[in-house]
Subunit: 192 residues, 2 copies
Amino acid sequence: MSLQYAVLGVLEARPLSGYELVQFFDTAAGWVWSAPQSQIYTLLRQMEQRGLIAGTEQVRGTKLKRTVYSLTPLGRKELTSWVSARHPEPPIRDSLLVQALFFDMVGSSAAAAVLEEVVADNEALVEHWREHRDRLLNKDTTLLRERLKHRPETEHDRMAELKAHVFDGLISSATARVEWAKAGIELLKKYR
Amino acid sequence: MSLQYAVLGVLEARPLSGYELVQFFDTAAGWVWSAPQSQIYTLLRQMEQRGLIAGTEQVRGTKLKRTVYSLTPLGRKELTSWVSARHPEPPIRDSLLVQALFFDMVGSSAAAAVLEEVVADNEALVEHWREHRDRLLNKDTTLLRERLKHRPETEHDRMAELKAHVFDGLISSATARVEWAKAGIELLKKYR
DNA sequence: CAGGTCATGTAATATGTTACATGATTTC
DNA sequence: GAAATCATGTAACATATTACATGACCTG
């Protein structure tokens, strides 16, 4: 479900082709929600049928076709109503925590090695997200600039700060995980 | 995949019937990994075929049958090797953050109302997890007591602390989310 | 003209969710 | 004897992943 709304939200910035959306969900938006190529194309056709987006065929060269999708009024309405409502927390399903639950069955050094990698990976993620957060605050990302174009200037700061706040969320959860993993390593040392 | 390892890990405490496992993944373990009834029964049969667990039929009364599953040596080996290895971070897929990404499209009060509920829900989760964490540290949960029975006493403290640490992870991520939501509410007030 | 990028699609598989179905046993 | 609990299963559906497939266009 969320992928659908992510797509609607991206299209609010400007109309995009399927190919561009695929790229987006592989990189930039993959930072919040990721989806493989095959899922995007099938979803776009479904969303078009439901009237949430409208596709226009364009031709590059003589034969290469692409379909550019844009938000319909219905799609916009659907998006804003979803964004305004509280949705139930999804069931927790955290495979690293399942793994940690059984660390007592293996040696401290093996468990600590896993946690060291968790620290490294999450610190790298924090780095990426911090950069993106800063770019958003400076209104310096392609998509945000598109959005600002069709919104009154009085809203620009609010928009940039709200977008940046999402990445603050990613940063703080990854930071929490780093701290948790470090505490785990210390705990394992105690019983080495 | 993780559900399989969660099942193996639970069975390491003691053999359990399908029904007991269903209950477990609906409540206690639902705190780390949740799964519906239908998934459990089908998975158990698959795991038995692969030789990871062994089922024994028992009869209650005259006709009611139940199958009690226990870890096989192969299952134990599979579990410890999975626990010892680092597995790639799953793709990020956080529907609340997708929602927050488009808060700029709706009024501050609607967005703040959503975040207020996020705060309340996550504070409740933190409460539950704190309790469970404390019970683990006191070696006061049914499953942990089962586990301790067949492990040398010198390991008991290590086991309890490692299990509790998992719930520290849940607590810290929910706490981080609470702080994030509160900061969001403040941000929205600024632009009310 | 070779290799990279543009552009879209299908198929098979895995995983997870909701709903429905059945019958035995225990408890009040 | 009715209601709750024990116990297991199937079917339909939604969602997500991997792999494969095809062909046009652009750049050096």
